[in-house]
Amino acid sequence: MEHQEIKELVLLHAYGELDGYSEELVKNHLATCAGCREILNNEMHLRNLVNTATPEPDEKLAGDARLQLRAALRIETEKKFTPEKLINSFREFLYLNYRPILSGAVMLVVGFLLSLFVRLNSSSGDEQNPAEINLSDLLKSGMKINNLRILASDPKTGQMEIEFETFRNVKLSGSFNDQNIQSVMMYSILNDENPGVRLNSINMVDSKKERGIDKDVKAAVLTAAQYDENPGVRRSALKTLAGLPFDDEIKTALINIMSYDQNAAFRIEAINILAESQKGTGKIDDEVQKALRQRIENDDNNYIKLKAKTVLEERNI
């Protein structure tokens, strides 16, 4: 083949696009043709130069992009949802909700009210009147719950009294295991504007956790641990998670925290809890291993790199 024709192939050769025969042809030609060697050389120069400016997304960009997508996805799914569907998919819905995106709070209120409404209606046989006022009418009116306070709590019986504000204060008496109380707790953890109140609600859940936690309340704690904008609330939620029976949901949340929380102390705490959870098991869980390796490679905190490495090495000897 002539020099003119081969020239075309040199670029493809540089990009690793040639198959055995044409690759050999180009190599042989390059050995004898200074002109083509120069073309290849120029190509490599250009490549090196362009490579100095390769934009590579870092962990922060990746984490931010995922959070932004979650919020957008939630809005997308809300468009399609009828109230019935909303209730049915309440858990998934919660999963996609988190505090920093305030526009989502409105829909969360609706979801919460609908689910609470359903519960109130379905527990009509209950001997205990949930409140002096008609709570279900109140909820249907679209009230806003705020400033939840724990008035009294008997550690022996689990009996408690809570107070929260709507257009007027509502007092609700019942055991911690009462669905209504847990629902209001869940709402408060996710939506109260006051971080101190969110914190109190989490601490209350924490103190009662051995009595069993409603799955929605657990979802609220998982959400708070990952996404609450207030570090104090995230810390308490994380502490509560550490005390709950370890499962896949908790694992996923801890991996997220370890990978994306801006606060290094929380990333470390998440690693500690995960490491603890893997004790006594045969082998570290694959996803946990993978996330730990990513920390070793990508975390900007050297202590965390070391910590992740130690956890992996201790277990793999």
Partner: protein
Amino acid sequence: MKLTEQDLVIKAKAGDYRAFEELVYAYDRRVLATVYRFTGDPDDAKDLYQDIFIRAFKGLKKFEFKSSFSTWLYRIAVNVCLTHKAKAGKRNYESLDDPYPDSEDSKTEQYEDKSGSLSPEKSLLGSETQAVVRKAVDSLSPRLKMVFVMKHYDGLKIKEIAEMLETKEGTVKKYLFEAVHILRGRLAGYLEN
């Protein structure tokens, strides 16, 4: 039990968005890398990333396993990138009709002050060089840039790129040669030695 990709797609088609999220997490780092390399801007990259996965989520109903899920997803990614409207005044690219612009062309003005104000040799690898390279890549038309990014930065084969652009391999080669030719002209001052 680990679900296969096909299981996940079926679940996601039925509206299970936890399944969808799992699919997202299998590919999103690669998608993000491509869009970030394409735009060179983190905020634009996040917007494109979001747009791509929202479109995928909405379009999943129509996905019929005629290609792999990843190919389908990257086609969306490519389309979103190609139709992405850069912020006004931010981009300044050559059209395909004019692949070999004269260096006197007014569009090259933006480089003149750069190359005049610094010595290429000294600043090689410096952040100013990077900015010049980025500008040069940004000066490519969206299609040329897409092909260049996928080939050069993402390391895809021409055949794969053709599949994603739904065009012929010959066309991709042509784009690639054009892109390289333009970049060589733009970066001539930095390519000596």
